[in-house]
């Protein structure tokens, strides 16, 4: 991949990250309500895919929908206003972060796990009938690959030979559940078994994702039917802001005091055999320690990994992106800081 292309990708990644961090800040300040699922850590995946989209292409999004929208060029000020719940938000304050709708970009999100599959099928169907040569992509997590409607969508998309690319962002976790503990077989094989080509890529490297998506998307555009991309990545901020697992890691003593006592009482009470109890405790402990391990041992920030390819240029691009995004968010906030 040439330098210029990579710079563009990285620049988009930086924009997404900046927006996520701005949103996180607003959330921490209590200005955004409810759950906030950040897409920090998914930027390389999103950038690599979205770079191939053109006007008339559509995106079906999940509960981490801000990064693709930012990358696709949605109005930052309107997005920020929406997260803030304001009347001038992109959905007039009625959708919020899990339900962002941007008709001009043919992009819609939903908080129901797996629903971006059918939505993507519908977008792709409309493309094939009304906008030949245009495609749809759908984004979702690896946990969504166990949701029936997603599995049905894989079959339906192939059966109708639609211009749709399935992008599975595999961070290995669904909330606090390790996906491999509840998922059988390997996901790229699962997709292949539904009769479509399937690529596994390093989701920390925007260039690698870009390469795989290029093949998948151009194939779809040419009428070759759907494809599947599995991109391993991580969520730097856990499942959502205030993720209880991360809170345990950050304040083990305080949190453990809260959790520990009832836990000890439970173990001491009449119940299963000791073997079973130990197994139960083990699985609780394992979850926490795996999270801790993952965070300690691995450097999984795609901005670092992809940025390294660009050297100092990365810093520059990042600063640019940051100031652009911050200025837009500031516009959204302007005159309302006190609200």
């Amino acid at each position: 991949m040439d330098e210029i292309k990579l710079e563009k990708l990285y620049s988009q990644m930086a924009r997404m990250r900046s927006f996520e961090l701005a949103a996180s800040d607003l959330w921490q300040r209590g200005m955004i309500s409810g759950e906030l699922h950040l897409g920090t850590g998914e930027e390389a995946v999103v950038a690599g895919v979205v770079a191939h989209l053109v006007e008339g292409d559509a995106m079906a999004l999940d509960h981490r929908s801000t990064p693709p929208l930012v990358a696709r060029g949605a109005d930052i000020k309107l997005l920020a206003s929406e997260l803030l719940g304001w009347q001038d938000g992109i959905c007039r304050g009625r959708g919020g972060h899990m339900h962002l709708f941007v008709p001009d970009l043919l992009s819609a999100s939903s908080g129901i796990v797996g629903s971006s599959g059918p939505l993507g099928v519908g977008f792709a169907l409309a493309a094939s009938r009304l906008r030949p040569g245009k495609v749809a992509v759908c984004f979702f997590g690896e946990g969504a690959m166990n949701q029936g409607m997603m599995l049905e969508s894989l079959n339906l998309a192939v059966s109708w030979k639609l211009p749709l690319v399935f992008v599975c962002k595999d961070n290995g976790w669904a909330i606090t559940t390790r996906s491999k503990d509840v998922t059988s077989g390997r996901l790229e094989r699962r997709a292949r078994a539904f009769g479509m080509p399937s690529w596994r890529v390093n989701g920390l490297r925007a260039d690698k994702v870009w390469e795989a998506s290029r093949r998948a998307i151009s194939r779809a555009r040419a009428g070759g039917g759907p494809a599947f991309i599995l991109a391993r990545c991580t969520h730097l901020d856990g499942h959502f802001l205030g993720d209880p697992l991360l809170r345990v890691l950050e304040d083990p003593v305080g949190q453990m005091r809260e959790i520990g006592e009832p836990l000890i009482k439970s173990v001491a009470s009449e119940g299963a055999t000791w073997k079973e109890k130990v197994a139960g405790l083990g699985s609780i402990g394992k979850t926490i320690s795996v999270v801790a391990l993952e965070r300690r041992l691995r450097k999984l920030d795609p901005l670092e990994v992809t940025g390294k390819l660009l050297g100092d240029k990365a810093l520059e691009l990042r600063a640019e992106a940051e100031s652009e995004i911050e200025a837009e968010v500031a516009k959204a906030l302007k005159g309302r800081e006190g609200l």
Binding site: A58, A60, G89, I90, C91, R92, G93, R94, G95, H99, F101, P103, L106, A108, S110, I112, S115, G117, P118, L119, G120, V121, G122, F123, A124, L125, A126, A127, R129, L130, R131, A136, G148, M149, E152, S153, N155, L156, S159, W160
Partner: protein
């Protein structure tokens, strides 16, 4: 022009498809169920699906958002349980969530209703459940003219509409699921419902408007679908006893025509709701609430199934509201 109920629906769809290229049809087995549409509009616009209701109903939402006007078929409304999310959390919420900026012009076509011995997983109505979801319209025609007019209105509507087609009125469904070509089984098919005049040129029947099928001053029987015909039969019998019953065909469950309901209640002061859907938490309650909230004093009764529809024909007949049941309930209410 005289048409059967199912012809009337097909006529409306064919008309809309000829007018507007964006109208497409998909669902299970539509290549034969909608053979005539397929032959006329080709396989790009009449598409078979796998048995994947969640995926294809959800796909209809996406297709409608992206410019098509899909008519998506869920064979029997009973199957909506496997794919309700596409209506509950997607189709019905896009307009609300997007602050009115994005709409979902789709029609869900499904057959409903019992009376042919297929038991409670295939004979439900579920219009109460569906009407309880804000953002969805639900229509239930009782005759060919309305079937045509409401289908046309549904296709032209810019928000999602569930169009329910009663199997006792649709000849081909009854042939498929009821008789299977046998001559030695019979069903209580309301002939004015299964066949009738459809005004030409085709025109839409507004969604949300009820129709007085028979005027009367003593009691208003408020109902829809096949029960309209049962109610008319009962009204005739009541007439024999000197009771003038008004029969209101709601035609739409959602939105409900409150005006029609209230004027009937104000006029007769006695309302009987006849429902083929489950009695509890559904249509009859909503009618009661509308009347009660209005302050109009009216006595009230309702009949309809309280349980899953049993298989045996005679047990099913006990559960589904028939003309005799209506007659008795109306008579009781008047005596009260």
């Amino acid at each position: 022009m005289r048409m059967t109920f199912s012809q009337a629906i097909e006529e409306a769809i064919a008309y809309a498809m000829a007018q507007d290229e964006r109208v497409i049809v998909f669902g299970e087995d539509v290549h034969l169920l909608r053979m005539n549409l397929l032959a006329r509009f080709g396989p790009q616009r009449v598409m078979n699906t796998p048995i994947s209701e969640s995926a294809f109903l959800g796909a209809a939402v996406g297709a409608a958002m992206a410019g098509l006007r899909p008519i998506v078929e869920v064979m029997l409304v009973d199957f909506i349980g496997v794919c309700l999310d596409a209506l509950l959390n997607q189709a019905a919420k896009v307009e609300a969530f997007s602050g009115g900026r994005w709409r979902v012009p789709m029609v869900v076509r499904a057959s409903c209703g019992g009376g042919y011995g297929d038991a409670g997983q295939h004979e439900q109505c579920l219009w109460g459940l569906l009407a309880g979801i804000p953002g969805l319209a639900v229509v239930v025609p009782s005759n060919p003219a309305d079937a045509c007019g409401l289908m046309l209105a549904s296709i032209l509507n810019n928000s999602p509409v569930v169009f329910l087609e009663h199997k006792l009125l649709s000849d081909y469904w009854l042939l498929y699921l009821g008789s299977g070509g046998r001559k030695n089984v019979s069903f209580d098919v309301p002939s004015d419902g299964a066949e009738g005049e459809v005004p030409l040129p085709l025109s839409a029947v507004p969604i949300g408007s009820a129709k007085v099928r028979r005027a009367g001053k003593d009691i208003a029987i408020i109902t829809l679908g096949v029960s309209v015909h049962r109610a008319l039969e009962a009204a005739e019998k009541l007439w024999g006893r000197g009771i003038e019953a008004e029969v209101i065909d709601l035609r739409s469950v959602s939105p409900l025509d409150s005006e029609a309901i209230l004027s009937a209640a104000a006029k007769t002061r006695r309302v009987l709701v006849v429902d083929e859907d489950y009695l509890g938490f559904g249509l009859s309650g909503e009618v009661a609430a509308i009347i009660s909230s209005s302050g109009i004093q009216s006595s009230f009764a309702r009949i309809g199934p309280l349980q899953a529809i049993p298989y045996a024909r005679h047990l099913e007949d006990e559960v589904l509201p028939g003309a005799d049941d209506i007659f008795r309930a109306a008579f009781d209410l008047i005596q009260r």
